[in-house]
């Protein structure tokens, strides 16, 4: 994927657009419980931000910026999802029972915290990991 052309406009646009997309993805992820969004779509949008970097630069650049093993990311996501689900067993309630409550956090004020969010985090990580694994694998193959 080496490019010999001069893509200054694309590359500079990418540098700040990526962050906007990433922020949007984080927003989608956190807002998911109340408004449209959630782990799945958040993960996909995050992945698309990374793909944009990939398109504007190349795989090596992306790897330098984010030295992440996406297979490991997938595994961690799965682990978080399963542990969240089985955590309920410790409190003697059925598998996959979520708990939630309202807390007064220092910066955010009164906030609801929900273990479903942890599960969604697992979904998010898996989706990002899976998408990036596929794209990277296919991109690297000749």
């Amino acid at each position: 994927m080496k490019r010999h052309t001069n893509d200054v406009i694309l590359e500079s646009a990418t540098t700040f657009i990526t962050f906007i997309i990433f922020l949007f993805a984080v927003y989608l992820f956190f807002a998911g419980h109340y408004t449209p969004g959630g782990g799945f779509i958040g993960g996909l949008v995050t992945a698309s931000a990374l793909v944009l970097v990939l398109l504007a630069f190349d795989i090596q650049t992306l790897r330098q910026i984010l030295p992440i093993d996406y297979k490991l990311m997938t595994a961690i996501g799965m682990l978080i999802a399963v542990l969240t689900a089985s955590g309920a067993l410790l409190f003697n309630v059925p598998f996959f029972t979520h708990a939630h409550d309202y807390f007064n956090l220092p910066l955010f004020g009164k906030t609801s915290l929900h273990t479903a969010m942890l599960f969604d985090l697992g979904v998010y990580l898996v989706v990002v990991g899976v998408t990036m694994t596929i794209i990277q694998t296919i991109g690297e193959s000749d």
Partner: protein
């Protein structure tokens, strides 16, 4: 577990130790150890004689599967005991004979005796089981052990062929017996033969009863080598001679007779039973004796002779069934047929066993069994000659041997049938004496043929592979015991009548005993001048004439076209079956994914449309429909237009783009139908998959990139139209038939209270139905790892290194 069960299973238990004995004690022939088993059993079973004579059967139960009513119920009555004594008695003689027949240095004796003992248990199990499932178990065990014994010299092609043939035919019969057992037990509510008999009057009118009867008879006919299933027996002669003597003359082939005799009390009231058993038996008698004359191999003659004699006994059992029509037959003359059947069963076991052993001796001492090479051995082998003479004369029905007596009784039974007025036999019944006499004449001819061509006539010692001499005493002893029995029973026929025959006949015809009837048990060597005696004289004289003119008419056999022969038909059946299944397989399994998809979709169409039609499942109700808006119409037009364009697109690139159009339109539909999460996901996923499609397109090999339109196939078009139609119909019908209210209201009510959320879709995904999501992300992870593995590991350790 009683002593009786132990006795039945004793050969099986001993067989476990045979290989050990064979490997550890090489100096002693393993057969000597085996000999102890049948000898012990003969002595053990003899002690039951007094009880069965008194009409007191012995029963012992060993629980096996009590919850299903399947228990190993050992039941010793006259019939079972007679067979048990035959099995163990002849078993002892055969084991003794095999000790001298099989060379311990050249033969795999451990295999032989393990199979033989297995067979002995199986036979004892058949004849002494009251539970039909257990009987079936032992029945199949005889098929398997017989298969192993026929294929004993497995390196010979003919042995394997014979073993396979007998296996296919007898297992076919065995399975039909299982069907018969299932039906009978359904009707009677029990697997026990005695209990089924006790309640037979309550279900004998059921049509399934007749089916069960036919299935049982199929089993009996295949096992006892009755026409047209007799073809396996001549090919089973590839087995070692002790096996032929034991299995294929005295025991296994009589399992079918045993089954007929055992089931007689249950089925014999049906006219069908009488017709089938007696006519098949009679025709087998005729056909077997006719074919025996044309054979040139000693064992083949004996095999066809066995078929013929089994047919004789079978027909007698059928005729004896007529005795159960007691209400129309005050005098029990018919019972003579059953008495004759039991009597001939014993006689046949004695003389046929000795004749097979004689054939084995000839084979062993001269190296051939071909009667064209043999001749003039009477001076060289005088003892064998004596054995052969007595055995064959008894088989031919010549006085004073036992075969004469049973043949006279056979003729009495056959003559009796036509003037009974039973079953409309006045006219067709005349065929019975005809077939009986013709069969007996041919029996006489081949019996004389055996003795004459082997022992008399010109000597042709130069044709023999070995220099013939008399066999060792151990080999002669078992046939001598048998022929002395032949003479003993011939001269003192009443020796066995009270001890063995009467209890057996009572077991076959219990209704007669209960009705107060009696049997003509006095078997007289000389019964005065009557029609039977004249018929015997006729048989002997015509037989002698036919034998003397044999060279003149023997060529008639060659006139029979080969295609008519049953062996040819059997081979053709197997060959055609294989060809047909290959042909079907080759036509159906084309290897093209396209064909399989046609099958799958065609099946779906047939199933859906026919069930919609036949179950009257289609309803279309317009009430629940909501109104249509202009946006939706426009979007539908875009969707249908792009979907149709895909099928007519020339280039693949166009198809991919159009597919993207379809996907984005679907996303727009999600927007219209207020599903924002779905719309978001659909947009991103569609983008990713179009990108992947383009990637695949970019990497297509040059050769298949040729741009061309999808070929039009009428069948494909029809099937796709039908699939579309059926899915549409199902969708419309299911829309119009909502039986339950949706559970969506529960989610709407509880999304905030129970799950503390606002986005219902997401709450359902991660909370209410989070389990599904967990495994969906597993699916994604597996897909990613699969792609990673396919691309990165494709060239390591594989075949295309």
């Amino acid at each position: 577990m009683s002593l009786l069960h132990l006795a039945i299973l004793l050969p099986l238990l001993v067989s476990l130790f045979i290989p050990l004995l064979y490997k550890k004690i090489r100096s002693v022939h393993t057969g000597w150890f085996v000999l102890l088993v049948p000898l012990t059993l003969v002595i053990y079973f003899s002690q039951f004689i007094s009880q069965t004579m008194a009409g007191k059967p012995v029963t012992a139960t060993m629980n096996w599967i009590p919850s299903l009513g399947i228990n190993f119920v050992a039941y010793v009555d006259g019939l079972g005991l007679l067979f048990a004594l035959l099995i163990t008695g002849i078993g002892s003689l055969v084991v003794l004979y095999s000790v001298y027949y099989l060379d311990p240095k050249k033969e795999a004796l451990h295999n032989f005796y393990v199979y033989l003992l297995l067979f002995m248990t199986a036979m004892l199990g058949i004849v002494l089981s009251d539970n039909m499932i257990v009987m079936y178990l032992f029945w199949e065990l005889t098929s398997i052990s017989s298969f192993l014994l026929i294929g004993y010299w497995y390196e010979r092609e003919r042995s394997r062929y014979g073993a396979q043939k007998s296996m296919l035919i007898t297992v076919f019969g065995g399975l039909s017996m299982l069907g018969g057992i299932s039906l009978l037990s359904l009707l009677s509510g029990s697997f026990s033969i005695r209990e089924s008999l006790a309640t037979v009057s309550t279900y004998s009118g059921d049509p399934l009863f007749t089916v069960s009867l036919v299935l049982f008879l199929l089993a009996a006919f295949t096992k006892s080598a009755q026409f047209p299933f007799h073809i396996w027996l001549p090919d089973a002669m590839e087995a070692p001679t002790p096996v032929s003597a034991y299995l294929h003359s005295a025991t296994m082939v009589k399992a079918g007779l045993y089954l007929v005799a055992r089931m007689s009390p249950i089925f014999a009231e049906m006219p069908l039973w009488f017709y089938l058993v007696s006519s098949v038996g009679m025709f087998t008698l005729f056909w077997g004796s006719l074919n025996a004359v044309k054979q040139v191999d000693l064992k083949a003659i004996l095999a066809y002779s066995t078929i013929s004699q089994l047919g004789l006994i079978m027909s007698l059992l059928g005729l004896g069934a007529a005795a159960l029509q007691v209400e129309i037959l005050p005098d029990s003359l018919y019972t003579i047929a059953t008495v004759a059947a039991v009597f001939h069963l014993i006689n046949h076991a004695t003389f046929k066993g000795s004749l097979f052993m004689m054939a084995g001796i000839i084979d062993h001492e001269t190296g051939t069994r071909d009667i064209r090479k043999l001749g003039g051995l009477s001076q060289l082998m005088p003892v064998t000659f004596t054995i052969a003479t007595i055995g064959t004369l008894s088989m031919a029905g010549v006085p004073p041997f036992n075969g004469f007596l049973s043949k006279e009784m056979f003729l009495t039974g056959v003559l009796e049938v036509s003037n009974s007025g039973l079953f409309h036999l006045e006219t067709w019944g005349l065929l019975f004496p005809f077939f009986a006499v013709v069969g007996s004449i041919f029996t006489f001819v081949y019996s004389i043929l055996i003795v004459y061509r082997t022992f008399l006539g010109p000597k042709q010692l130069d044709k023999l592979p070995k220099k013939p001499h008399e066999a060792p005493i151990g080999m002669l002893l078992p046939p001598l015991v048998l022929v002395s029995l032949v003479i003993l029973i011939g001269l003192f026929p009443n020796l066995l009548s009270n001890t063995l025959i009467r209890p057996a006949v009572e077991a076959i015809l219990p209704q007669v005993v209960e009705g107060g009837g009696s049997f003509p048990l006095k078997i007289k060597l000389w019964h005065g001048f009557n029609l039977e005696l004249f018929l015997t004289l006729l048989i002997i004289s015509v037989g002698t004439i036919l034998f003397l003119t044999l060279p003149k008419w023997r060529s008639l056999y060659n006139r029979m076209p080969k295609q008519v022969s049953l062996n040819h038909q059997y081979d053709a059946l197997l060959r055609r079956g294989e060809q047909a299944s290959t042909a079907i397989h080759d036509t159906v399994m084309t290897g093209y994914m396209r064909s399989y998809l046609v099958y799958i979709f065609g099946f779906i169409v047939v199933l859906v449309l026919s069930s919609l039609y036949f179950l009257d499942a289609f309803r279309f109700d317009v009430d629940p429909l909501s109104s249509v808006h202009a946006y939706e119409i426009v979007l539908v037009l875009v969707l249908v237009g792009s979907a149709l364009s895909i099928t007519f697109a020339r280039s693949r690139l166009t198809s991919i783009i159009l597919l993207g159009v379809v996907g984005y339109t679907a996303a727009l539909f999600f927007v219209l139908f207020r599903a924002p999460d779905l719309a978001l996901t659909q947009l991103v996923i569609e983008t990713v998959s179009v990108a992947l499609f383009l990637l695949v397109f970019y990497h297509m090999p040059e050769i298949s990139r040729k741009e061309e339109r999808i070929k039009f196939r009428l069948g494909n078009a029809a099937i796709s139209a039908l699939v579309g139609l059926s899915v549409t119909l199902v969708a419309l019908a299911s829309l119009s038939q909502r039986s339950f209210a949706s559970i969506a209201q529960y989610y709407i009510d509880n999304v905030a209270d129970l799950a503390a959320g606002g986005n219902m879709v997401n709450v359902i995904l991660v909370d209410f139905r989070g389990f599904d999501t967990l495994f969906e992300i597993s699916v994604l992870a597996i897909a990613a790892l699969g792609i990673y593995a396919m691309i990165n590991f494709r060239k390591t350790g594989g075949i295309d290194k």
